[in-house]
Amino acid sequence: MGELGVEHFLSLSAALFIIGMMGVLIRRNILIIFMCVELMLTAANISLIAFGWQMHSLDGQVFVLFTIAIAAAEAAVGLAIILALSRRVHTVDVAEIHELRD
């Protein structure tokens, strides 16, 4: 690992991805789960740019642009859902929101 290579970036990406995934699995606050998903998306973005960097291709960067834009749109909708839900059930704890089950 003498030189800065694509593996470095991929490893960073993998680390962030897994931390994000673990956050989704462990945390109970919807908002934090949401943040963790954003973390996972960012991790994917790092990978995309890293691959593009290695292959001298800009497609990855364009892809990232779209990912970010879509993440923004999803944030708007998702937060609206969370807001409306928290008004109704007065909690953002996923462990308490299980009216629909079985």
Binding site: M21, I97, H98, E99, L100, D102
Partner: protein, 671 residues
């Protein structure tokens, strides 16, 4: 050109659907306003078809779509109308239309009026599809469909126990025949690799490519279906019982159309039958036996509809042995004339029953000509036609059948025997028909004149009677002069072309079999059937007239002049009488020898095998399934983290398995 062909079956289908769906709410008592125009339209289009075929002498085709396409087995749903089909179309739609009109009056005020007017066009639809189909699979499908409609209509008065039983009997007995037919279709597919009738790859064109045994088996299996549907011995028992249905149904289904499906099937498959003498022999024997047996039973019965029903069985026997002796055209001719006069007779019966307030026993009638003159006159015409009196429809066709048997080249000597027995049956036919007429319309009133006031039926009922009577008088002349009429020229091409195709096949067979008869027949086939001298025609015409008049005269002696006593004769030949009265004991035989043991077996299976073994297993499985279901639903905890966990777990496990199992990885601690 022929895109209107679809209209023929479509119109009744639409009517049936409308009445089925909206009957209870919208059409109700006005259901006939939907069905009658639909069938009339269908009749009109059939007329157009007939005209076109008549003019062009070419079959009409309409491709619809392919049903279940998969691999080599695909069933095209195409409509195909040649001369034979055109005749069948006319018969079905004409009689169907008249029966529809008749039913307006007959079924008036019935609680489920709309249901009747839904089933009836549904039946017409199925029957039309049956005759229009161009392959065995579709024929089989609608064969079952007409059976189902018949079942529904026989059991129409489903609250009456006997109606339910009769429907069940018809259904079960027909299953036996259908089983044979179904096997036949499967065997055709095996042998020919197709179920289509026409074309160079079709069944009929390639009959000669296969051995005679195979063809014989196929033909016999097909004929099994015909035995069931056309009420031939030994599966005839359902037809008289089917009279439990409303009378218009009896006229339409159990006299004019559905029961002739078997005859139609054999005629349609004439290429197959012509290639097998054995099959022809079987058809002849069974037809002949049925004709004699049906006529003899009819002599002793007292239920008006039952008599006509056994007459139908007998006449179907006539058609069958005509087919068997190679008199194809005569059979179809008789099919057509019979449809009209037997339809007329049944509708007449219905009129009588209607006028007599649901009385069906002829012992309790008499002198009805005074009360219902129209019914009497038309019924008389029908009876004369059935008896075969010149110049009514029945005369021409029956005469032709008998001549056909006499000159039959299929079995030269046996043909003579057939002719003699056919005369016997014709004699009995005349006798029982006029026994019926004399007992019902002549003599003195045998009913309680105080309470029963017979009346003429409404116009919607007598109208069809009159039309049918006129048709009965006139229809025979399409076959005039005998053997060489317009009808024969028209329909002859159907059998001619196949005869031609079959000829080569048979010629080769004939060499091996040293079968002179076959060769002769094949030669005949090239010229389109029999050639009969005028003298022979006249001779047979005279003989059969004498026979018929003799039968009528005997009936006259018994029931009008009473110079002979029916009771005395019955007492004298007690055994024979009882034998006939009990319908040759078939019903009892079947009940005791087949139904009862089957019931015992079924009871055993039900009590021991089913309840103890199968139910136990099934219940066990069901219980296991339910508890598995109850357990598994708990997986759905409702907590979103758990769901994410499931996804992640699934992902990790799948990736793990793949990396370990399928990758080119050479990491020591993983391998």
């Amino acid at each position: 050109m022929a895109d209107y062909l679809i209209l023929i079956p479509l119109l009744p289908l639409v009517a049936a659907i409308i009445n089925l769906l909206l009957g209870r709410t919208v059409t109700r008592g006005k259901a006939h306003l939907v069905s009658v125009p639909a069938v009339a339209g269908s009749w009109f289009v059939s007329l157009l078809v007939l005209r076109d075929i008549w003019n062009t002498e070419h079959a009409i085709e309409q491709k619809l779509f392919t049903w279940i396409p998969s691999g080599s087995f695909n069933v095209p749903v195409n409509l195909y109308a040649d001369q034979l089909t055109a005749v069948m179309l006319m018969v079905v739609t004409s009689v169907g239309l008249l029966v529809h009109i008749y039913s307006i009056g007959y079924m008036h005020g019935d609680g489920a009026y709309y249901r009747f007017f839904a089933y009836l066009p549904l039946f017409v639809f199925s029957m039309l599809m049956l005759v229009l189909a161009d392959n065995y699979m579709i024929v089989f499908f609608f064969w079952e469909a007409v059976g189902l409609c018949s079942f529904l209509l026989i059991g129409y008065y489903y609250k009456r126990r006997s109606a339910g039983n009769a429907a069940k009997k018809a259904f079960i007995v027909n299953r036996v025949g259908d089983l044979g037919f179904g096997l036949g279709v499967i065997m055709i597919f095996w042998t020919f690799g197709t179920v289509n009738f026409w074309g160079p790859e079709g069944v009929f064109a390639r009959v000669g490519d296969f051995g005679q045994t195979t063809i014989t088996v196929i033909a016999l299996l097909l004929f099994t279906g015909a035995i069931g549907k056309s009420a031939q011995f030994p599966l005839h028992v359902w037809l008289p019982d089917a009279m439990e249905g409303p009378t218009p149904v009896s006229a339409l289904i159990h006299a004019a159309t559905m029961v002739t499906a078997g005859i139609y099937l054999v005629a349609r498959s004439n290429a197959l039958f012509q290639a097998s003498t054995t099959a022809m022999l079987v058809v002849t024997c069974i037809g002949l036996f049925t004709a004699v047996m049906g006529a003899s039973i009819a002599i002793t019965q007292n239920d008006i509809k039952r008599i006509v029903a056994y007459s139908t069985v007998s006449q179907l026997g006539f058609m069958a042995f005509a087919l068997g002796t190679g008199a194809w055209m005569a059979a179809i001719f008789h099919l057509m004339t019979h449809a009209f006069f037997k339809g007329l007779l049944f509708l007449g019966c219905g009129s009588v029953i209607h006028g007599m307030h649901e009385e069906q026993d002829i012992q309790k009638m008499g002198n009805l000509r005074k009360y219902m003159p129209v019914t009497f006159l038309t019924f008389l015409i029908g009876s004369l036609a059935n008896a075969g009196i010149f110049p009514l429809a029945g005369f021409w066709s029956k005469d032709e059948i008998i001549v056909g048997a006499w000159i039959s080249t299929v079995f030269p000597n046996f043909g003579k025997v057939v002719t003699v027995l056919a005369f016997a049956a014709a004699f009995m036919t005349a006798f029982y028909m006029f026994r019926l007429v004399f007992k019902v319309f002549f003599g003195k009133e045998n009913f309680d004149t105080e309470h029963v006031h017979p009346h003429e039926s409404p116009k919607t009922m007598t109208g069809p009677l009159v039309i049918l009577a006129v048709a009965t008088i006139l229809i025979g002349f399409v076959g005039f002069p005998p053997e060489d009429g317009k009808f024969h020229h028209f329909i002859g091409t159907v059998f001619e072309s196949h005869a031609g195709e079959a000829t080569h096949a048979m010629a080769s067979v004939a060499v091996h079999n040293d079968g002179g008869a076959l060769a002769v027949m094949a030669e005949e086939g090239e010229h389109g059937g029999h050639h009969v001298s005028l003298a022979m025609t006249i001779t047979f015409g005279v003989i059969s007239s004498v026979v018929a008049i003799g039968g009528i005269f005997l009936a006259y002696l018994y029931y009008i002049r009473r110079s002979l006593s029916a009771e005395a004769t019955a007492a004298r030949f007690n055994g024979l009488y009882n034998f006939l009265y009990n319908r040759w004991g078939f019903d009892t035989l079947y009940q005791e020898r087949i139904v009862a043991p089957l019931m015992r077996l079924a009871y055993f299976l039900w009590q021991v095998i089913d309840v103890k073994v199968i139910d136990g297993t099934v219940n066990g499985i069901a219980k296991g399934t339910l508890s598995a279901s109850q357990t598994l639903r708990k997986v759905q905890t409702g907590v979103v983290s758990n769901y994410a966990l499931a996804i992640a777990l699934g992902m990790v496990v799948i990736i793990g398995i793949y990396l370990v199992g399928f990758s080119s990885l050479d990491v020591p601690f993983l391998r």
